[in-house]
């Protein structure tokens, strides 16, 4: 699905990531951890082609990202669900319209029943007509997750999806991610919350990667 081969990314003369080799196999669940500023977000941006590697090679659905046109990148994004810590929405559209955005931008019609089901799944069906600024942090995170999966993507990339919510809500979001993985989705979650990782490992087989000194390593039993 997504593969890094000795990939590196430099910015402003400094190297943020070095010699990264990794393959996200279909149906796998990965956590990516590391201290703030270690390059977790940069790694995710490389994974969904917002950034291009400065060395090495990254392939997205078997295509080298450096060879993708802008339209190709857009098409690839329709196969990747992206969840950000700061959950970006269009504040002038209702939650339901925001959910349907991935369909809207590809000029497709979303099935109203699917939308309702999805909102029910994340527990937000009673808020479908609300505007994003009216939602709490946890509701926004769940809404972002629902939007990420509405077009049935192959991969879900989540950047600190529990960063702004309490532990109870974190567990709820984790449960949703685990359910998605059991449905066959490939999941990569960047987080610095080791408790969340431990909780997940009790439920599913997840690989834990750690960024240290600009490199990615497999985390050991200390988790």
């Amino acid at each position: 699905m997504i593969a890094f081969e000795n990939a590196a990314y430099s910015y402003g003369g400094g190297e943020l990531l070095t010699d990264v080799s990794l393959r996200l196999a279909p149906g796998s669940f990965h956590f990516l951890t590391g201290p703030s500023g270690s390059g977790k977000s940069t790694f995710l941006k490389l994974a969904y082609a917002e950034l291009k590697p400065t060395a090495g090679r990254i392939t997205l659905f078997d295509r080298d990202v450096t060879e993708l046109s802008r339209d190709d990148v857009a098409r690839s994004r329709r196969r990747i669900g992206i969840v950000h810590q700061d959950c970006k929405f269009l504040d002038h559209l209702t939650l339901a319209a925001n959910m349907a955005l991935p369909f809207t931008v590809s000029d497709r019609e979303s099935a109203p029943q699917d939308l309702d089901d999805l909102l029910t799944w994340v527990g937000l069906n009673h808020l479908s007509g609300a505007l994003p600024p009216q939602l709490s942090g946890g509701e926004r995170q769940r809404a972002a997750l629902a939007r990420a999966v509405i077009v049935d993507p192959d991969v879900i990339l989540a950047d600190e999806p529990t960063g702004n919510v309490d532990w109870e809500m974190s567990l709820r979001i984790l449960t949703l991610l685990v359910e998605l993985n059991r449905m066959g989705k490939t999941i990569l979650v960047a987080t610095h919350d080791l408790n969340l990782i431990r909780q997940a490992k009790a439920q599913i087989q997840a690989r834990v990667l750690r960024i240290s000194k600009h490199r990615i390593q497999l985390a050991g039993a200390d988790l």
Partner: protein, 298 residues
Amino acid sequence: MKPPKAKPASPATRALQVVPPSGPTAWLTTFTAGAMTFLCVFALALSLASGRLADRWSEALAKTATIRLSAPPEQVDLQTDAILSVLSTTPGVASFRVIEDAEARALLEPWFGPGLPIEVLQIPRLFEVMEADPPYDSEGLRQRLVAEAPGALLDDHTRWRRPLAEAAERIRLLGILSIVLIGATMAAMITLAARAALASNAEVIRVLRLVGAKDSYIARAFVRRFTLRAMSGAVIGAAAGMAGVAALPVADAAGGFLTGLGFNGTGWLWPLILPPVAGLVAFSATRRAALAKLKELT
């Protein structure tokens, strides 16, 4: 909180909805398109009026010529007969007549006042010649007059007609140039407004990109909005401009150039094409600006 079930919006409507509906550039685009179209209506009226004037002057003066006879008093009648004889045998002359003294006095009165003692003045005798179709050969007639009546001078108004027609033609070109400049100014203003709108909606664009929107889709959303705004502004501007032109004094026989400024008959249809043209200008300007700005925002 659940919204009522409504008829699903079309893809075009939904594309329009992804751009926030209001913003500081909304009124700017509408106002610019309206003001420019208003000015364009006047430039169009000027251009059409000068075109009509050029045609009228050319036609009016081209059909007539004047023969001026300046001869010693004892020769005047003799040469008058000769001139009339020449004119009656010249092919291409539809009609001719001698301009009577009273008529000559009336022609001079605006310049010298009503008490003009025309009988004591050496005023040349004038002949009006109307040309037929096909017209007479001016040079041939001129030479025959020189031979038969040495005091006769044929004036076919060429030296008057040419500068007048040229002046009118230049005014028409100036009108067209003004329309082009107004269009270019409108395109520049809308480009700036579109770029500002795109810059202020960087976050919206980021969200749309995250969910897989292509540049062409994002550009289309902005282009639709700006095109509609420009067209609505242009409709208002065209209506106001047409009302302004309609309120100008009506042209009459004694009227000059300014009273002839306006539209005639089907000429009133011309301003109606301005709103679609404004929409087209806005469409191409916004599309170019949007695609360029979207590359910058990467």
